[in-house]
Structures are given as structure tokens and as C-alpha cells.
């Protein structure tokens, strides 16, 4: 044990530079604190699957074969593989892309080991747009021509409805917890945990799962990437997060936590999130309803004039 510890320490010393400086993360922390950013990500590792779920495969009626609540809520067949978060002041867009577990492929290259290649998801995306205090929930998938198709719900005969109403609780598929944490909802729980370490303290909700993170150190990696590490503890659970940078650009987040009590290790989780874009300006194209969706929200004249 001691030998392993010393070996790890020696190996790490070549890569670890205790600069005590988390400068690169500050830009992203400021962007989140100022509520002004665009984040696009891929989840490389899924959450551990939790079992004990009843099978409900007969939902529907004579005219339809299922509802999207069933598709999106079945964590054991589908998982969040990627997503988008755009925050511009009080306006926010959160997109969660689901794909079946069976249809994510990774292909080997003949020359250089493993290259991750995610097949374009063809299942479902759940989207939430908060604009001027109105909440819109809608979906998109690909039609038979491979074009993106946005819709608010399925009609009685399975047709795709392009009319949408704000604050329509009937079609709001978010869990009560998601609604409660609406402002703090980062879509995927994997990502939410990975981002918590760089949230400003006043933005972190005190929950049983949320520790207070402290900066541990930074360093260089072979290949030119740099990293910044954070760690925290809450009750019996220990957390560690590493942010990877290519220059000043965040490219990856790796997170790990484990729970240990007097009887031993109870649970652990790991997360790898690939960051494809993390800019400090909100992409305004996402902060409006997409083309193809018609806002049919009933408003009184005063409301309509102000919108």
C-alpha cells in the first residue's frame, strides 16, 4: 500500500504543478454567475443504472402506441447522451437528447486505439425554453427525410402538433424536483454534478448531495492539455472533479464520488463529460421558439403588448 502510494505520488509529481491557481475556471464561473453562457456537451459515461422499475409497455390507446412520458422516463432503455444549455439573463434553454442504450456505437480505428463515435441520435430530444417568464416544453426528432422536426405533443391520431402554449402543465413532463430547481436545472444529472464545483457559492442549492468544493491544484498533461482539480465532502460522501483545458478552452470534465461509512464502501459514481462548446455569450437562436412551432398562448391585451 505504501509502495503504491509513493509510486503514485512520484508519477504524479511529473505531471502535477501545484500552482495554486484556478485562473482558467474563473472565466466559466463568471459566465455562470452572470447568467450568460452557451454550453454543449456529450455524456461519455452514463449514470449507473438504478433498477426496480415496473414495466409499462401498454400505455396508449387505440389510436396511439405510446406517450412521450413513457419514452423519456424509461431510464433503463434510454439515457441522456448529449445536451445544450443556453442562459441569457432570466431566459434559458435546456435541451436533453436521448438515445437507446443499444444504439450508441464506438468504433476502433485501425491505427490509433479507440475513437469514440456517437451515432446521431434518432430517438427524442426534450426541450424547455423559459422566455420572459413563460415556460415552453417541446420535443424534436428526425423525420423520414432526416430533417429536424419540432412539435409540442402527439395528436389523437399520432400526428405531430406544431401549436404550443406556454405554461401548459398537461404537457410539462418535468419532474416536480426539476420544476423546483428550474433555475438550477442543467438537464443531465451527470452534468449538474460536474458543474457544481464551478458554480458560485450563492448559486449552489444546499441539498444532501451537494458538497462545498475547494480548489486542490492544477497541472499539465501529456498531449498539451492542462487541468484544474476540485474536491469536496458532504456527510460520508467524498467528491473529486477535474476540468480539462486546451489552452483556455474547457474540453472535458471528469468527476468521481464515493460514499463510505463505518461498514465500508457503500457506493461510487464516475462521470466523464465531453464539452463541445462552452462560450460566455448566450446563443440567441436557442432563446426563441424554433421555426415550425406556433405560439398559441392565450394572453390578455396587456400581456400581449408587453411580450
Amino acid at each position: 500500500m505504501k509502495k503504491k502510494f509513493l509510486t503514485a505520488l512520484l508519477l504524479g509529481s511529473f505531471l502535477f504543478s501545484p500552482t495554486g491557481d484556478a485562473a482558467k475556471i474563473d472565466m466559466y464561473r463568471d459566465a455562470m454567475s452572470n447568467k450568460s453562457f452557451t454550453l454543449k456537451y456529450n455524456i461519455v459515461t452514463p449514470l449507473s443504472r438504478r433498477t426496480n422499475k415496473e414495466l409499462h409497455f401498454l400505455k396508449g390507446n387505440m389510436f396511439g402506441t405510446g406517450t412521450f412520458e413513457d419514452l423519456a422516463s424509461n431510464n433503463f432503455e434510454r439515457r441522456i447522451v448529449s445536451g445544450i444549455i443556453v442562459v441569457g439573463g432570466e431566459n434559458k434553454y435546456v435541451e436533453k437528447n436521448f438515445a437507446p442504450y443499444t444504439e450508441i456505437y464506438r468504433f476502433k480505428t485501425a491505427s490509433a486505439g479507440m475513437e469514440t463515435q456517437q451515432r446521431e441520435q434518432k430517438e427524442l430530444s426534450l426541450c424547455t425554453l423559459i422566455k420572459d417568464d413563460d415556460v415552453y416544453n417541446f420535443y424534436w426528432n428526425y423525420d423520414s427525410d432526416g430533417q429536424k422536426r419540432y412539435y409540442s405533443k402527439l395528436g389523437m391520431f399520432g400526428e405531430y402538433s406544431s401549436s404550443i402554449k406556454a405554461n401548459d402543465t398537461k404537457n410539462d413532463t418535468r419532474s416536480p424536483y426539476d420544476k423546483l430547481l428550474d433555475e438550477y436545472n442543467y438537464g443531465s444529472p451527470d452534468l449538474a454534478q460536474a458543474l457544481t464545483a464551478i458554480l458560485p457559492p450563492d448559486r449552489v442549492i444546499d441539498t444532501p448531495d451537494t458538497p462545498e468544493y475547494k480548489f486542490i491544484g492544477s497541472g499539465f498533461l501529456p498531449g498539451g492539455l492542462t487541468f484544474e482539480d476540485f474536491a469536496g465532502q458532504k456527510n460520508n460522501t467524498h467528491y473529486a472533479v477535474r476540468y480539462y483545458f486546451d489552452g483556455d478552452r474547457m474540453v472535458k470534465i471528469a468527476a468521481f464520488n464515493y460514499t463510505e461509512d463505518a461498514t465500508g464502501i457503500q457506493d461510487y459514481e464516475k462521470t466523464i463529460v465531453e464539452i463541445t462548446e462552452f462560450s460566455t455569450t448566450p446563443d440567441q437562436t436557442y432563446l426563441s421558439l424554433p421555426e415550425g412551432l406556433k405560439d398559441k398562448t392565450k394572453r390578455n391585451k396587456k400581456e400581449a403588448d408587453s411580450k
Binding site: F5, F57, E115, L221, R242
Partner: protein, 256 residues
């Protein structure tokens, strides 16, 4: 001689530079691992019953070169869990030393490694140490593994009442069903790589249809629905493997 060697080298280059190079085995040997059960219905031991049915049906097809005629009772998940504890040890070392390189740059964070068998994707690797040992012990090149991920029942009902003028039509349909959903994988023993994966659902349904005053069938849940659902699940599992037999033990490679 020199010309022959040059021709041979050129031929090898042509083969390896093609856009796809398939590694396949002729008459690949395999074993069926006893299925695991991720549902809360542990006491009825559906995994054993389903594994036995599946291997019986696989043997009947005569399409699989099975090295054992019974499912292999070897809990890979527990062994894998013990290996994963290594990540926790690395985390503890990192926390004490203020250095997480052993954790985040170690094998535990290699994206090629599957987090668990039950969530392993095609192309991911389940500990080759574990899979190669099992393959060696039983003389098998491939391990066929399944996890029961869902079991349950449901009832749905439709009712239509058409009234028109002096007459009407009453239509009523009730259906109850019991289903078993399984997540299947084929794993190459030597490398631990998942090379095929499919989710299969078997079920048994009972339908009652009423048109006017006439009733046909019954939607009442019965005790034999469970064994019928198991039988259906086993058959669909084997059918899925037979349908994909040409790619079941085949690793697609693409050259970038």
C-alpha cells in the same frame, strides 16, 4: 523470390488498407453465462429459468458452437465491482496527497472501459482479466451474457360507444399483459470487448373483446402467464441471435 515477396507485401497492403477489415472466427465457440436479474423480483429467480430456456433453445437450433450445455454460474458483476474499488483507492490516495492523477488518468477513467456489464455498450471493454479467465476455463471465444432489466404487468382498456339514430354499437376491449425485458450482450473473451448487443422483450397477453352484448376471450391475469412470458422471452432472445448470426461474433473495424 524478391518479386514474390513484393507481390505478397502489396497484397497485404491492399487487404489492410481497405475501408473495412473484419475480424471473424470460423465456427466460433461460445458459452452462455447465467443471466442476471436487475429487477426487484429476486425471489422468483427468473434469471435461472430464463437462462435454462435460452440454452435449451440455442442447442435446438444447432447454429451455435456451445462449449457447455448449461448456463455458466459466474457472477462477473461482483468481480467487476471489486476491480472498481481500485478507483476508490486511487481517489483516497489523491485526496490525501492533493493529487488526482492516479484517479483521473488511471485505467478507471479510460472511456473504453464499461462502468458495469449491465450498461456496457458495443465497443466498450469489460475487464479482460475476468472475461479471458472465463473463456479459458471453458474453451470459449465468446461469452453470451444477459440481464433481465424489467418485469411487470399492465392493463389497458378501450371503450367506444357509437350512437346513431335509432341504433348504436358498443365496443369494449380489455387487454392484460405480463412482460420480461432482457438486455443481451456478446463479449469477446480474450479482449473483454462487447461486440453485439440487443434488448428483447417477451410477453404474454390476454384479451377480452366485447361487441354489443357478445364477449370473446378473457383479460383476467392467470398464474401461467409468467411461464408463457418466460417462454416467449427465451424464444425471442434466440430468434434475435439467430437473425444476427452473421454479425454476432463479428467485430466491425473502420479505418479513419
Amino acid at each position: 523470390m524478391k518479386q514474390l515477396l513484393t507481390l505478397f507485401a502489396a497484397a497485404l497492403t491492399m487487404i489492410f488498407s481497405s475501408t473495412a477489415f473484419a475480424i471473424s472466427y470460423s465456427n466460433p465457440t461460445c458459452i452462455l453465462m447465467k443471466f442476471s436479474n436487475d429487477t426487484r423480483f429476486q425471489s422468483i429467480d427468473a434469471a435461472s429459468a430464463l437462462s435454462d430456456l435460452v440454452i435449451e433453445k440455442m442447442l435446438k437450433t444447432e447454429k451455435f458452437n456451445l462449449r457447455e450445455t448449461k448456463p455458466i454460474e459466474h457472477d462477473m458483476e461482483i468481480q467487476l465491482y471489486k476491480e472498481k474499488i481500485r478507483d476508490v483507492d486511487n481517489a483516497k490516495i489523491g485526496l490525501r496527497a492533493g493529487n488526482f492523477n492516479a484517479l483521473f488518468e488511471g485505467p478507471g477513467f479510460d472511456p473504453i472501459l464499461a462502468e458495469a456489464i449491465a450498461t456496457a455498450e458495443i465497443g466498450q471493454v469489460i475487464s479482460p482479466t475476468i472475461t479471458s479467465a472465463i473463456g479459458r476455463d471453458h474453451g470459449a471465444q465468446f461469452l453470451i451474457q444477459g440481464t433481465i432489466i424489467n418485469m411487470g404487468s399492465d392493463l389497458f382498456e378501450d371503450e367506444l360507444n357509437f350512437n346513431s339514430g335509432g341504433g348504436g354499437l358498443y365496443f369494449h376491449q380489455k387487454e392484460s399483459a405480463l412482460g420480461i425485458q432482457t438486455d443481451l450482450r456478446v463479449i469477446e473473451a480474450a479482449t473483454g470487448e462487447v461486440i453485439w448487443r440487443k434488448i428483447v422483450t417477451g410477453s404474454d397477453k390476454k384479451t377480452m373483446t366485447q361487441v354489443g352484448a357478445f364477449k370473446f376471450g378473457s383479460s383476467k391475469m392467470t398464474s401461467d402467464m409468467y411461464s408463457e412470458a418466460l417462454e416467449d422471452a427465451a424464444q425471442k432472445i434466440v430468434d434475435a441471435m439467430v437473425t444476427d448470426i452473421h454479425k454476432l461474433f463479428f467485430k466491425p473495424w473502420t479505418k479513419q
